[in-house]
């Protein structure tokens, strides 16, 4: 059956704005977007009128989340969650966070590392209709060197089978990619370049060798997966891009030659602005730290400079919060968009980042209101082009996924996935 959704305004996800718009969908897909006057009468189509003043746009996408973690702050909280929760429990808690994200307008999420394949299984369970949630694109575990960013020290007597993917050497990383791919990963996460907290003034250091990065990227590309890399910046970031990384995360310090290289190669940037700012807004006592590190203070300033350069060079910049780490799921995504605006982007450009650019990062056929795309939509009462905060108010949101209304006014239409799919 065909459905026409009429709204005072449509944002097509590519920067286009249409007043008095009509979106035609059939089944799970979009058939077309036009002015209401041009759409005319569609025989047999159900007509849905959005509220006066409402905007229809592609569903929001968060390109950097950790569904396995709650986002609670405090000394050792993340490690406690990692050590106290069995993988089935992790998956069930992740299911609730994913559902809440959907209610808040997020129709797709990219999960950037979870223990034990828990979020790979969640992605499959949502697709199979066991539970209601957004599309989830998951990497499984993040590949990391021994003692690396995702292999934080644990006591000598602690073993955590299945929780981590520690690799060393080119062959080790190649195998690491194969193991996550076998488990069902949709893309590969590596930790190639990290911050250096040990020496003031050194804000980055390589964690993986160029050969390791190249091996991981080659194997992932051979298996048609893209590679995303946790990075801090500087020359080791350039090395990551040179050796095949497709999407760089965080990247507070980006050298000019790296900007040029990323532009040439079409490398994505997900600057995760909010998680960096959270270090400065969550009270220190709540974080369980005595003072903010020099690195955090330097990164806070550097990220604006890098973002300005990225914008100038026309890099494809996505929007990712790092929800699950320092911030909760679902409720704060809109703030990443306001931070992009603080960094020089227009509201419309921030929405492009959160929709079409992110859809391309995730490799899903969503993120644009154009013929053939998946009908993953948000109808928001208000105009996000003048006030992005309307996207953070679930009571203003109506959420569609696969051509079906799935959430309305802050709650699910139905917890029955088979209905949402029907």
């Amino acid at each position: 059956m065909k459905t026409v959704i009429m709204a005072d305004r449509a944002l097509d996800g590519l920067g286009g704005v249409l007043e008095k718009a009509a979106l035609l969908i059939e089944g799970t897909r979009i058939l077309g977007l036009a002015r209401q006057a041009e759409m005319g009468q569609i025989d047999g189509a159900r007509v849905v009128e959005a509220p006066p003043g409402a905007t229809i746009m592609p569903g929001l996408i968060d390109a950097h989340v950790h569904l396995a973690y709650s986002g609670a702050t405090g000394a050792g909280r993340m490690q406690a969650e990692a050590m106290d929760q069995s993988f089935p429990e992790v998956a069930l808690r992740a299911a609730a966070r994913a559902r809440d994200s959907l209610i808040h307008g997020l129709t797709a999420l990219r999960d950037m590392a979870a223990p034990g394949g828990a979020v790979i299984d969640l992605a499959a369970a949502i697709a199979a209709g066991d539970v209601v949630g957004p599309r989830v694109v998951a990497c499984g575990r993040g590949l990391t060197v021994t003692g690396g960013h995702m292999d934080r020290p644990t006591p000598d007597h602690v073993a955590m089978p299945g929780a981590r993917a520690t690799c060393d050497g080119a062959d080790g990383f190649r195998k690491g990619v194969r193991v996550e791919a076998r488990r069902g990963a949709a893309f590969i996460k590596i930790n190639s370049c990290v911050s250096s907290h040990k020496r003031t003034g050194i804000w980055w250091r390589p964690e993986m060798s160029p050969e390791e990065i190249r091996a991981a990227c080659d194997e992932a590309h051979t298996q048609d997966m893209i590679v995303a890399a946790h990075t801090s910046g500087g020359p080791p970031l350039t090395t990551s891009v040179e050796n095949g990384v497709d999407c760089v995360e965080h990247a507070h310090w980006i050298d000019d030659d790296c900007i040029e290289l990323m532009a040439k190669r079409g490398t994505f940037l997900v600057p995760t602005l909010l998680v960096n700012e959270r270090t400065f807004e969550v009270p220190l006592t709540q974080q369980g730290i005595a003072r903010i590190s020099d690195w955090s203070a330097a990164a806070r300033e550097a990220k604006w400079v890098s973002l300005e350069k990225a914008r100038g060079a026309g890099l494809r910049v996505g929007a990712g919060t790092d929800a699950g780490f320092m911030l909760p799921h679902a409720t704060m995504f809109w703030r990443e968009l306001t931070l992009l605006v603080d960094g020089g982007y227009s509201q419309g450009e921030a929405i492009v980042a959160a929709t079409s650019v992110n859809a391309d990062i995730l490799g899903i056929e969503a993120g644009r209101l154009e013929a053939g795309r998946l009908a993953d939509l948000v109808i928001v009462t208000g105009n996000p082009l003048t006030d992005l905060s309307v996207l953070g108010d679930a009571s203003r949101l109506e959420v569609w996924k696969d051509g079906m209304q799935v959430a309305f006014g802050g709650r699910l239409v139905t917890p029955w996935p088979q209905e949402a799919r029907a």
């Binding site: 069995s86 993988f87 089935p88 429990e89 992790v90 998956a91 069930l92 808690r93 299911a95 609730a96 034990g116 394949g117 828990a118 299984d121 969640l122 499959a124 369970a125 199979a128 209709g129 066991d130 539970v131 699910l412 139905t414 917890p415 029955w416 996935p417 088979q418 209905e419």
Partner: protein, 421 residues
């Protein structure tokens, strides 16, 4: 405060139903129930009426399910699922089954074995309100001897499994097994002391655990305040299980009068799992490829089960309804068959409902199952009268399901069209 009214009130106590009934609910508890005329309408109470001819009754309780399994009616499915599904995936699939179970009117279930702590974790997620489902009490892994009922045989030599079976040998190991499951978060312990004997000499049951093993497991569980449920077939090994302290006897096709008297005396529960037996037996007898010894066992169990039930009733043994859904039976749609089969076993519809509500809640140790003051407000508004036609309880379109006074969302297809959700 909310006031629920219906033409018929079945309060779960086994007392005669009340015509023109009402129940007051405050928070998650029942404040009062009885004749609508006596209860009146307190000022400010929200009034919710069942449809004309409708019934207000406690939520149903299924004390024997396996949420980790799909219920595919295929002897191989159970094994294949164990060997191919990751535990997080198993837990997420079970979340869907739990939602379906609740929508079909079952506000509490007892899970009788699941790999990897999956249903213990699901029970936690539901009780924290993260996911919708019935109250769940879970045992974690069922404890079993090497090669026993829950140490699934037939896998090849090179197959190794982690946290899939609770295999124990000897009294000390069973004690350790009990401790391990309770540490993982189990609410009670499942044992496999006595199994059906399908081969060789034609015996219908045999000991799987020794008396000493059963005693050790029971002692440890009771010491920690946990009940023991036992998979049983019947005969002498069942008697030994009861003597050594098992609290609930599952299946139990053959039980002699002496043992029934002992069960009545000790307050041991019988969960006859009629629904799974019906389908298992029919499948076995209809399948040409199945061994004659299995068919012999099925025929003998068919012949014995009704007589056993009638004698248990006469002896005053406490009974509860457990379907074994997840094994040959789909979750949600099938659980209610167990209640109908009590009717076939000679019980009245009211007795069958009491067995499937108050008795189940008592067995599980939860403050539900009766719509009396102070109890948890787990209840159903039924479009119809189950006392004249029990099958209305299996029609999801006729049920509004409330757990802790909160209504579970039904599939839209089963909602009357004019109802706004």
């Amino acid at each position: 405060m909310k006031l629920f009214r219906a033409d018929l009130l079945i309060d779960g106590t086994g007392n005669a139903p009340v015509e023109g009934g009402a129940m007051l609910v405050e928070g998650d508890r029942v404040l009062a129930s009885g004749r609508a005329a006596d209860i009146g309408t307190p000022e400010g109470a929200e009034v919710i009426d069942a449809p004309p001819g409708g019934t207000l009754m406690p939520g149903l309780v299924d004390v024997h399910v396996h949420l980790a399994y799909s219920g595919a009616a295929n002897p191989q499915a159970f094994r294949a699922e164990s060997a191919t599904l990751n535990y997080p995936a198993m837990a997420l699939r079970a979340a869907g089954y739990a939602r379906a179970t609740l929508a079909h009117g079952f506000t509490s279930v007892r899970d009788m074995h699941a790999p990897g702590g999956t249903i213990i974790d699901l029970a936690t997620a539901v009780s924290e309100g993260l996911l919708e489902g019935p109250r769940i009490k879970a045992c974690g892994l069922g404890l079993t001897v090497n090669g026993g009922h829950m140490d699934q045989p037939g896998f090849a030599d090179h197959m190794a499994f982690r946290d899939m079976n609770g295999v124990c040998e000897g009294p000390v190991a069973f004690r350790a097994g009990v401790r391990a499951q309770l540490k993982r978060g189990a609410d009670f312990i499942k044992l496999n002391p006595c199994v059906g004997h399908h081969g060789r000499d034609g015996r219908l049951s045999r000991m799987e655990m020794t008396r000493e093993e059963i005693r050790a497991a029971c002692d440890e569980a009771h010491e920690q305040g946990a009940m023991i449920g036992a998979h049983t077939s019947g005969g002498l090994p069942l008697r030994v299980a009861v003597e050594e302290g098992v609290d609930t006897v599952e299946h139990g096709h053959w039980i002699d009068d002496d043992t029934l008297a002992l069960m009545a005396d000790r307050g041991t529960w019988l969960v006859p799992t009629l629904a799974v037996h019906e389908i298992c037996s029919a499948t076995t007898l209809a399948n040409l490829g199945i061994d004659e010894a299995d068919k012999h066992w099925a025929r003998e169990a068919d012949a014995a089960k009704w007589d056993r039930l009638a004698r248990a009733r006469k002896a005053g043994v406490r009974l509860a309804a457990g379907s074994d859904a997840g094994f040959y039976l789909a979750h949600g749609a099938s659980n209610g068959r167990e209640i109908e089969l009590f009717l076939e076993g000679g019980f009245s519809a009211l007795e069958a409902i009491t067995i499937a509500t108050a008795n189940g809640a008592d067995l599980m140790g939860i403050e539900a199952g009766r719509l009396t003051a102070g109890r948890l407000a787990d209840f159903l508004l039924v479009d119809g009268n189950p006392l004249t036609d029990l099958s209305v309880l299996r029609d999801i379109g006729r049920l509004r399901v409330f757990k802790s006074a909160r209504e579970a969302v039904r599939p839209a297809a089963s909602r009357p069209r004019n109802e706004k959700q």
